[in-house]
Symmetry: C2
Subunit: 193 residues, 2 copies
DNA sequence: GTCTATACGATGATAGAC
DNA sequence: GTCTATCATCGTATAGAC
């Protein structure tokens, strides 16, 4: 499964990232992690203090990756509307859900300030980034002066996170796409009032 | 904890409903259910075939309750916009999340067509209800003829479901409220283009 | 209908050999 | 660094007494 040269702690983190995405924190056991990482128990407790410590390392990496993915489209070319559209329409594995957002439904994550922190920071940073872009669009006259960047940013992020919920409920990405389409139609600068 | 006169199977279903909301399916054990219901193991396996069977009964009841709560505001008085606003602004225990929507992040729920079905049906029914209201608003000239009722309905539902995610991540209902505010500002019939 | 006893694998972690 | 015991507890279910 794993090629040579990848360190054991690296394999442990990657396996944990996958399992947290698939099954969440409560649904992921050290045993499952070890099997996927092809490692023994000793390795895990040598490199990490336990399940929460390993999960924290995994979540932090996933959080950074998600921020980078978001920045790639939000910091890309185009008008403010186009950059937000690019964020909403970017390729996603919709039925897998958001690897960060899904953790908010995990009771043990929410109960731990340390585990919740990277989740909160990630969503907050993307929200602030979008809010700034909306404000930019207002200055350029693309959005009405009355719109509230912070509020619109929350709506954009919520539509994505909620889109995952609808898609997973129905077993099809269609509902995610519909939600995005609806939001874009409301945001469109040129739409008939 | 429980007053006299409430049947054991009733207590089992109610306890399961609470725990599914708090901890999800994977995070809820029969033992925890029994303790909360003040019942022994025998009772549970007498009334239900096992954990999935009891969970199904609990989910079905929660699904019905949620549909009724939604219908109470969506079928209420007012213009289409006002009814959608009432749905978005209705009182919610935001930090607890949606008792139905949260189940979509549970791997064992998604893996079982039987357990997923009531979740899917609930969200789909509410979505269709909102879509019809949007179409109604178009006929009355409150919404532009170009808007797509199905898409807007998905956006409305996604904003709510995603709002729970943002709120739980930050530990505050503020982000939920911001998302709702942003969406309503985009939907407002009289807003400046 | 409800209880207790029993079962067996899974969970999360420690100890100590190599 | 990694491995294999070993451990106490939990998770899910069955059996049978009352």
């Amino acid at each position: 499964m794993y090629s040579e040269g990848v360190s054991t702690s690296e394999r442990l983190i990657e396996s944990t990232r996958e399992l947290l995405w698939e099954r969440g924190y409560v649904g992921t056991s050290p045993k499952a992690i070890l099997e996927r990482a092809e490692a023994g128990q000793g390795s895990m407790y040598h490199h990490f203090k336990g399940k929460p410590d390993l999960a924290l390392a995994a979540i932090r990496r996933t959080a950074e990756e998600l921020c980078a993915t978001a920045e790639a489209v939000l910091g890309g070319p185009g008008t403010p509307y186009q950059r937000i559209e690019a964020y909403l329409r970017r390729e996603r594995d919709v039925l897998r859900g958001c690897p960060i957002g899904r953790l908010t439904m995990d009771p043990d994550i929410i109960a731990s300030d340390e585990l919740r922190a990277p989740v909160d920071e990630t969503l907050d940073r993307i929200r602030e980034r979008i809010a700034g872009i909306v404000e930019e669009g207002k200055e350029q006259g693309q959005f009405a002066p009355s719109v509230d960047g912070e509020a619109i940013a929350a709506t954009v992020l919520a539509t994505v996170q909620g889109g995952y919920v609808l898609a997973r409920a129905s077993g099809s990405p269609a509902a995610f796409d519909a939600g995005v389409r609806g939001l874009l139609s409301l945001l469109a600068p040129d739409r008939p009032a």
